[in-house]
């Protein structure tokens, strides 16, 4: 299931038509809930559907418990229960499934469960801490959890932001409709053509990498770069589709990306990539854990190092959220190491150069390009553990040898470095293209070109439309 599948598009268009055409007495949140239930029923197989229903109902029962029982420990136990159930239904891999004697050697719920879990934990914590003013009823709960444009892979929109919009969407004017359609078309182009082409390069380079030696090393480097490009095109295309459809429905959906290729360092990267996931982890893990650490130690000199520890914990957990295997644990370690080294470097440089000296250094062009290159290369190389696994990577590195591995890493760093140097120029081009897309004179030309490219790719090239891997985490 992808956001360019006929089922998603048909349910989206039916929902838009129903929101516009049905009499005002038909509650809009019910129309959208019916569309969401229809989408979930079409997207999931029966076992996944049963698992999702069990998780959603258990989440609602836990919500009722934390609403009524404000005793210490109840909220923590409810969150632990929700996460444990999520782990059981969505994260168990072959080894874990066999150890528990589960009938399926794979996760029970195959699509979207992570994002439902993030929303359930958000509700449990905010209701349990009295941060949500109004009680959450079953209708609002289901409408929020299963809202179909956000279902497969986010964004993780906050309840207080989405729920009022579901009840009373604000249908867009003519310009809004045009902008929503243009955003969906751009998303379709990115999801189908750009991600499809990058995925094809990734697969071919991955096969060549298996040949070993220096040529294999270069192929591994190409595969690493192509996977990053595929992931970015696929995920931003998905977001464009979701945000564009939301606009047609009269619902504002938050942005999830802010030109991550312009990140000034690894910490800044996470404020630009999968933003709502980063915000969720910041809100529910980094902030409470680090705030308590700072309060407990209460020594200003230790604060930056405690912060580095908080960053490490947060990003390590973010890594193992992807899966229970050793590969994802190492992926989490790499992410945690990246952010904590980044923070430690900042602290050390400020101690050495002073705050003003460090700011002056950061403003220098060569330093900015080097920092961006380090951040983006680190992420692209860490992603190898998302598309492969630790055993395969170890075997590949053994077959490639030191020279092959060095050429793989070298190619990634050089290409990313060139991109980092051109980043500001690309940003200007991207914003110019954005203005052209929104201009009445040229917008339709771009739309025709995108539609033509999608049709050519699907009908003539008969290219593959890869699925967004995040929807299966």
């Amino acid at each position: 299931m992808t956001v360019v599948s006929p089922v998603f598009l048909a349910i989206g268009l039916l929902a838009v038509a129903a929101v516009y055409l049905l009499p005002a007495r038909v509650p809009r949140d019910l129309i959208l809930l019916a569309a969401s239930l229809g989408f979930v029923a079409a997207a999931l197989d029966p076992a996944s559907l049963a698992g999702l229903a069990a998780f959603v109902l258990a989440g609602f029962a836990l919500l009722r418990v934390v609403e009524r029982q404000r005793r210490p420990g109840v909220l923590a136990a409810a969150v632990a229960a929700a996460v444990a159930l999520f782990w059981l239904l969505g994260e168990n891999d072959v080894a874990l499934g066999a150890a528990l004697g589960l009938p399926r050697p794979e996760p029970v719920v195959l699509l979207g469960l992570s994002y439902v879990m993030f929303r359930v934990v958000h509700l449990l914590v905010d209701v349990g801490q009295g941060e949500l003013a109004a009680p959450v009823g079953l209708r609002g709960y289901l409408g929020y959890l299963l809202f179909f444009p956000n279902f497969l892979a986010g964004p993780i929109q906050r309840y207080e932001d989405l729920a009022p919009q579901l009840a009373t969407p604000s249908p867009p004017d003519r310009d809004g409709v045009r902008a929503g359609l243009a955003r969906m078309l751009a998303g379709g182009f990115s999801t189908v053509v750009l991600s499809g082409l990058a995925f094809a390069v990734f697969r071919r380079a991955g096969e060549e990498a298996a040949l070993g030696g220096a040529a294999g090393g270069l192929a591994l480097g190409v595969a690493t770069l192509a996977f990053s490009a595929y992931l970015y095109a696929s995920f931003t295309g998905y977001m464009d589709m979701a945000i564009g459809l939301g606009r047609l429905l009269g619902i504002a959906i938050p942005e999830n990306f802010d030109r991550p290729w312009l990140a000034s360092n690894f910490l800044d990267f996470w404020a630009r990539w999968h933003i709502t996931l980063s915000e969720w982890f910041k809100f529910y893990l980094f902030n409470p854990s680090t705030k308590e650490l700072l309060r407990a130690v209460d020594r200003p000199a230790a604060a930056p190092w405690l912060g580095a520890a908080g960053y490490f914990l947060t990003f390590f957990v973010m890594g193992i959220w992807h899966g229970t295997s050793l590969s994802f644990a190492v992926y989490g370690l790499l992410l945690g190491l990246g952010v904590s080294l980044n923070k430690a470097w900042q602290v050390w440089m400020v101690q050495r150069l002073g705050r003003r000296g460090y700011n002056a250094l950061s403003a220098r062009r060569w330093y900015a390009v080097a920092a961006r290159t380090a951040a983006l290369s680190w992420f692209a190389l860490a992603l190898v553990l998302v598309w492969s696994d630790l055993a395969t990577v170890s075997a590949s590195l053994a077959s490639l040898g030191a020279a092959g591995a060095a050429s793989a890493v070298g190619l990634v760093v050089v290409v990313v470095g060139c991109g980092a140097a051109l980043g500001p120029l690309a940003a200007r081009l991207s914003s110019g293209l954005g203005r052209l897309t929104h201009s009445a004179g040229t917008g339709w030309l771009i739309a025709v070109a995108q539609a033509g490219a999608i049709a050519y790719y699907l009908l003539v090239v008969r290219g593959v439309v890869p699925e967004l891997i995040y929807q299966r985490f």
Partner: protein
């Protein structure tokens, strides 16, 4: 909401100390965009320092999402108005 001027001064002083900046560099619009040193960690250090200085517990969601010194001072005013 306009923050009490004495409290606003204290909030600015606490923020300046937490960020290791001069008091003159802080005003109501100071935020992470104007002071790069104001990152996620610095935000928590500011919130802890404010809670300690005013002997108040700030509501988590608002404390985590205030965008600048003016909003932070307004939040402190509201919370002290409620009796902490």
């Amino acid at each position: 909401m306009q923050a009490d001027s004495g409290r606003f001064e204290t909030v600015c002083a606490v923020v300046a100390e937490a960020l290791d900046l001069d008091r003159a560099e802080i005003d109501a619009t100071t935020c992470s965009a104007t002071q790069p040193v104001w990152d996620s960690l610095a935000h928590l250090m500011i919130i802890n320092a404010i809670e300690k200085r005013f002997e108040v517990v700030l509501p988590k969601r608002e404390a985590y999402t205030v965008k600048n010194v003016g909003e932070l001072a307004g939040l402190v005013d509201r919370q002290l108005g409620k009796g902490g």
